[in-house]
Symmetry: C2
Subunit: 442 residues, 2 copies
């Protein structure tokens, strides 16, 4: 049976999972592929470090060049993450005639056009299923399964760290800091959690998914991004009272020829699909004009789920090698993606419902003042919750409002005016409500 | 741009959807595929019937042979359903060198080995994504995305008709007959609903999915099958009181080298993923040893969702035609599926929890008699609900029990003995409880 040789760069969590799967599942994969996948060389930073996986017959090296220039090796798997030297390795591998499989969403979100164009021009395969949603087959679904669809929108929970933190805050009443510490202790959050909790990781992923689904490059910088650091148990509690859960969503919608891409915490109806995706699970609701709404749920991280996606890509490339059909599916989903361009919608133009929490002195006329200013800015109120003291440590009370659909630009002007009302104290909490995407599913 | 010509057999609901998509999405598909899909000929039973879709430039014919022998046509799409003449058309098309795309699960569940082997031996492509779960990309996920996994199990809602009926019974308190009539009026159920409500359609689908996932042919006749016709609002109500919903599940599990495949109504925990899949949606929970549990949800029927899957398969085949790589993925997922054989588990060997409802005369000692017989058969009781009269029209009362895990063979012996107890009236209701698969997701 024909062997196909693989070179792996990086033996961290996912790299170890990939090495384990390639070895443990060799027979099973051979029966399905009709060829043997052989892990030939692994490039690591240090040869001394103990490895969590047996590597019998595998050459460990610190020289990445020895993989890139090994004529036996057909597929390079890049799992070191980050921008450089990952970018150089990937481009060099493609230019050496290798196919590349990577889980590096940061790299693709920043250098996607260069890397996709290089792979396309050289007709090399570039697999990156593992870069979004761990083991969830979303890239394949966009590029292949749903190829007959104009995509209309996506609503995703694609950061497991923040979903774990919000689930713990919601289920156990923990503060953000408490839930973060717990996530760090369990290895679900990094020592420096910025990328996850500020929404940057989710923004990289939704930028990449949008580029594939809509066929026009969406730079990560164009994604409006808000993290979860200011979410409090108080707001989670009010949201629950109103019939909602708070989730960090990554959203992309095509509306009247313009693309609206954003990452922020949002209230989702408690009975919706996304509200019930807890813990470290990821979920992606994807809306095609023919297929309607589909949702895919699975583990968004971890050595084996992510390794499963990497090896799925390796098999895909191997099938192309065996059939001389590399470049069969264009890396960025379209044959001529550069020909497409879509204007992006500014966050100020967004129209949705909003959850607002004002901290006010318990004085006559405050509610009237707030409602009056909202009215002047064309924002109408759907419901109000006002409770007695006790919810805050100072002498203020919470006034919680759900608005009807309003334009964000108007809302921001209104909130600026409300901040100048003397009885209003502190910063007003404002969280978007997302209920169009999943409400129909019940 | 190179054209790829398609011949379509059958212009019913799905055929009309496919014709519509091929025409409306021609530009979009060309941009992604790099070639034009051209619907050249459509075979119908009568040329007179009005069509729901414009067919400019398409040759309508009643002669299927004119498609099968047209040298321009590379792909035959079979959408007439049923066993014959569909089987003959599909086999003839393959032998004429055509690739085939079909949505016909009945055909594949019965004649799969013959059709798969013909396609494999001739290295022709055979696409059948639309045969299970409408637009949901489950076949592709099993054969490609999750190729690195030994599959451990599946739990599916794959019949939209019964899911709609059970949802209406659950939400509105309708009887089975009332909900069925409503489903028929809305076009969700056939005039003769047997295939759907008796679980046969779901059994065909789970047989097919099992054959792909486990690589050994599972004949539909080997699938233990129970429908939903005996489910009552009374049991739905008790299940709800116990924290469960009733769904028609199609299940396949690999346990100690044996395959357990079955279709029956089951109690699922109210907070589980599957419990919250309502209406006409389908959902498939699939468990791979590397990727863990994933769930895919989407519309399980309808012209456009199912058409989306058919056209996805057509594009897949077209990519193989353009790259001379037909036969790239073996139709039955394994290169040598005939080499694999898995013994099937008998339903009597099943171990799970059971929901039981006895109708008994309200007399002293009845509960003791039932509990005693269960105990003699090694069945222990987790909880009991017994209420006063009013729930039944006769002079009996309901005694509802949830058992701990028990073996079905033992349970059947116990139920036979209980039926002989004088105070027990009518047939005991027995519904399996399925909670292992989805409980962890919350």
């Amino acid at each position: 049976m024909q062997p196909i040789h693989i070179g792996l760069i990086g033996l961290g969590t996912v790299g170890t999972g990939v090495a384990q799967i390639l070895q443990e599942k060799a027979e099973l994969i051979a029966a399905r592929l009709g060829a043997r996948l052989v892990l030939k060389r692994v490039a690591v930073r240090s040869l001394e470090r103990p490895r969590g996986v047996p590597l019998a017959g595998v050459q460990l090296t610190t020289e990445v060049a020895s993989l890139l220039h090994d004529p036996d090796i057909a597929i390079i798997v890049e799992l070191i993450g980050g921008y450089e030297p990952a970018r150089t390795y990937v481009l060099d591998a493609l230019r050496q005639g290798k196919h590349v499989v990577t889980a590096n969403k940061a790299l693709l979100a920043r250098h996607g056009p260069e890397i996709f164009e290089t792979a396309r021009a050289l007709r090399r395969d570039l697999g990156f299923e593992a870069s979004v949603g761990g083991g969830i087959p979303i890239i394949r679904t966009i590029k292949e399964g749903f190829v007959a669809n104009q995509f209309l929108g996506m609503a995703c929970i694609i950061n497991g760290t923040t979903n774990y933190i919000l689930s713990r805050m919601s289920d156990q009443g923990l503060t953000f800091q408490e839930a973060l510490k717990e996530a760090q202790a369990l290895g679900y959050a990094e020592a420096d959690p910025t990328y996850d909790v500020e929404g940057i990781d989710a923004a990289q992923k939704i930028a990449l998914l949008s580029s594939l689904a809509f066929g026009a490059w969406v730079p990560q910088e164009a994604v409006y991004t808000e993290g979860i650091t200011r979410i409090t148990p108080l707001d989670i509690g009010y949201a629950r009272e109103l019939g909602y859960r708070i989730k960090l969503l990554a959203l992309a919608n095509l509306r009247q020829g313009r693309l609206d891409v954003r990452v922020h915490p949002a209230l989702v109806p408690a009975r919706s699909w996304l509200a019930n995706v807890g813990g470290v699970y990821n979920a992606i609701v994807i809306h095609g004009d023919m297929v309607g709404r589909n949702m895919l749920i699975g583990r968004g991280a971890g050595a084996l789920p992510t390794g499963s996606a990497v090896v799925g890509d390796i098999v895909d490339v191997a099938r192309n090698i065996l059939n001389n059909s590399t470049g069969r599916v264009p890396p960025q989903a379209y044959h001529t993606p550069e020909a497409r361009s879509l204007p992006l919608q500014d966050i100020g133009e967004l129209v949705c419902k909003y959850y607002l929490r004002f901290q006010v002195l318990d004085q006559p006329g405050v509610l009237a003042a707030i409602a009056g200013i909202l009215g002047q800015h064309a924002i109408s109120i759907e419901s109000v919750i006002q409770k007695g003291r006790g919810s805050a440590k100072d002498d203020t009370v919470s006034v919680v409002m759900m608005t009807h659909e309003a334009q964000e630009g108007n809302l921001r002007h209104a909130l600026a005016a409300i901040a100048a009302v003397p009885s209003v104290r502190g910063e007003t909490v404002c969280i978007r409500v997302e209920e169009t995407e999943e409400a129909e599913a019940q």
